[in-house]
């Protein structure tokens, strides 16, 4: 399981990427998708997911629509125009970040005998 501390800076990117791939998703669906794609190694907690979703919406990167399903109200999220642009940029940045980290970590001296 990947720690929440490591995940902290990546949640916005994960959400934007998933919405970019799947069009529209609701909260529970997002947590399931992340779990599924990471083969259970990443678990999005409520505390990480919902504040991030509302912040992304306040920043204008995603939009929401509420659909009534029986007695439940389901809130679907999808990317706004700005969010679409931001998703591409963030993903590029993130890939670059991963490559940089990889390069840095590969440079570590090998102490094994």
């Amino acid at each position: 399981m990947i720690s929440q501390d490591l995940l902290k800076g990546s949640i916005r990117t994960i959400v934007l990427k998933l919405l970019s791939d799947h069009g529209r998703l609701y909260g529970y669906e997002l947590t399931r998708k992340v779990e599924e794609l990471s083969k259970g190694r990443i678990k999005l907690t409520w505390g990480a997911l919902y504040p991030s979703l509302h912040k992304l919406e306040a920043d204008g990167l995603i939009v929401s629509e509420e659909i009534i399903i029986g007695k439940r109200v389901r809130r679907y999220y999808s990317l706004s125009e700005e969010g679409r642009r931001s998703a591409v940029l963030r993903l590029d940045d993130f890939v670059e970040y991963i490559q940089t980290m990889k390069a840095i970590l590969n440079l570590k001296p090998d102490f094994s005998v």
């Binding site: 609701y26 529970y28 509302h54």
Partner: protein, 413 residues
Amino acid sequence: MKTLSDSQIDLIIKWVRSHHLTIHSLENEFVDHICCDVEGLLNEGRSFTAAFESIRQQLGDDKLVGLEKQTILKLTYNQRIMKLMTRLAGIIVLLSFFAAIVVRISGYESWKTLMAGGMLVLGLGFAPLFFFDHYRQQEVKGQKVLHIFGFLSALLVPVGAFLGLLNTQYAIFVIAAGIIFLILGFIPLSWISVSKGPARSTFAGSIIFLLFIVFLAFGFISVRLSKEKLNSWVHISNSTDLSSITLGKLNSGFILKFMNDSAAFGRASEISERSNKLVSKIEVFRDGFILKLDPAYTEGDLFFRGMDSHYAGAHLLIKGEKTDMILSEMKQYEEWLTSMISDENDKVKQKISGILKPSYSMQENDLTLQKKYLFRDFPAITDVAVLNSLILNVRMAEYQSLKFLSQGESINF
């Protein structure tokens, strides 16, 4: 695939609502998320009661409230930072003003720096942040316009006061523009808002209004103080001018004493002629400087436009080539006058040199340094006072020479 019945959903809704959350959309999301989680457990073979209990235990009693708080904190992060910065700017402004008052009462000059710093933070920091924050919160168009007027006044009045502290020529116009926005925009709109709006806007309006009174008071005080200072320089400049005119008349009368001694009369006339020539050159130079600032200036006027300009001296006198000429002629005059006195009368020589070499004698070999020393970053009226003092020095040196000549002790005279 098992799904929840309406009554089971009602139970979940009831439990979520018992937390009294304030963000309705978040409440709906929590209900839906819990329903999905419970449905997942139902499909694993658990009963509704066991599944719901398991989720409740995972979330605990305060998890949902905590999540809402976390969301609010995340959403209001920028506003909180802005509020913090506004408060910090406000504290800096108050401390600067308070320190300026204490320093002023103690009689030190640095109060102006403190006051100017406070004015700048007020005009460029506190006021924009304060009004932007309030502007953002307003939904009614009239209230938004009110805050734009407030912002403009709060920006212009302290910035004008800051310029006033630097004796800048246009300070009063900047303050006047701020006051126009205040009187014609902010106050009438505040009045409407107070009489029609809720208590909150009345309170905010009063606070803003009080703040403005403070801005205005400081603005006017600073401008008034600089005017007093300028007036004192006008007085000094005028007194120096009058003294040199009086001394010039006295020197002219002195020459009559040498009527019986033709050699001494010739020398005295020569001194007088050369002194008059130098004085008139400095006068023309001085009047030219004033006329460049105020073309409508006529001889004898005490005040002239631009007399508070800090940059006139730097632009017209320090950089001006004519200033070099005047200072060089002052030096030549001194050399000429002292060369006529024999070395035996060294004390007289030194006295005349002392009169003509003003306090810039330390840098006498460097003309640029001399100019910078004489015409530093002061208002233009002080530069005029310096030029008048040069004239007075010539007249005093002339007087000393004539007095020495009248005593008949000179060899060369």
